[in-house]
Symmetry: C2
Subunit: 199 residues, 2 copies
Amino acid sequence: MPRVSQDHLDARRRQILDGARTCFARYGYEGATVRRLEEATGLSRGAIFHHFRDKESLFLALAEDDVLRMTEVVAAQGLVQVMRDLLSTRPAADGEPHNPANWLGTRLEVSRRLRTDPEFRTRWAERSQQLTVATRERLLRQREAGNLRDDVDVEVLTAYLELVLEGLVSHLAMGLPADDMDPVLDVVEETVRRHRRSG
Amino acid sequence: MPRVSQDHLDARRRQILDGARTCFARYGYEGATVRRLEEATGLSRGAIFHHFRDKESLFLALAEDDVLRMTEVVAAQGLVQVMRDLLSTRPAADGEPHNPANWLGTRLEVSRRLRTDPEFRTRWAERSQQLTVATRERLLRQREAGNLRDDVDVEVLTAYLELVLEGLVSHLAMGLPADDMDPVLDVVEETVRRHRRSG
């Protein structure tokens, strides 16, 4: 047996995550059967479950991966940018090219399972905390830079942004049109960013 | 057979709706069996389905009833007040007295079914439109009275408020704590109400 390099392992792991993302987004958690995961990743179940203990671990790794990338976007551009990314990367229809930055499918599944699966809720709590922390830190930096309104507590603004994010995910989950959402997100962004006085 | 007066019919209908509201809120749509509906309303299935064709019709009547009352609150106090009411009337735990103004249980079920049941989505679209219309009309009146910011289109502000409402319902559906939500809703209300300039 040749020794498998770390680079190779990482690349394989990435390949599995990318395929699984499409698969979960298209079929949902329950609908993403092992056979479909094999098709989507181009790998055998043996190879997939060599890297991930089971489907649940694979899904959590994927969701965690997304949270990590979201926190990067939050750190650089704020939580409203995450919302704009969600809007611009809706699940590709059959035949459309897959957008590897697509967060929505996984996010919808996370939201659904949070509502229906108390055990998942517990397991997810710690991970979702990372996004809250990143959002709060970004707001604190923005406040120091004088870009944030200073009449409302950063905790409150963090909760505000997370509430709107939840609304957006729910809106998309219900299949409601989101074409006119950009000016709404402008309002959200402006609410947080600048201190404004009564005119 | 004595002639049944309209008042009596209305009271009976109200009794069924009130009991069914508690029942759907506690057990969910699928879990609200006919037996449980009988217990919750104190009426036989014969009496219940004399007034409503089937469980689906009963649920829709209930949800419609809620939308009507919500539009009244919107007209008088705005959509943010509906959100505050949702926060203050969370489902009563076992043994707690039932709050007849409780909208959340039904609203959670509507949201869940909108996500999972395309047929329900179609049937609901027209009814939910009433709330949008009431919100828009309230905002237009507020604008005329000079209470509304005038740098953002009323359509955008309506969509903004509805997005936050969806976020709140989703937040509560996930069982997340909502104790600190009041100052967040203050931010939402203030965002819409007053025109503010950069400070």
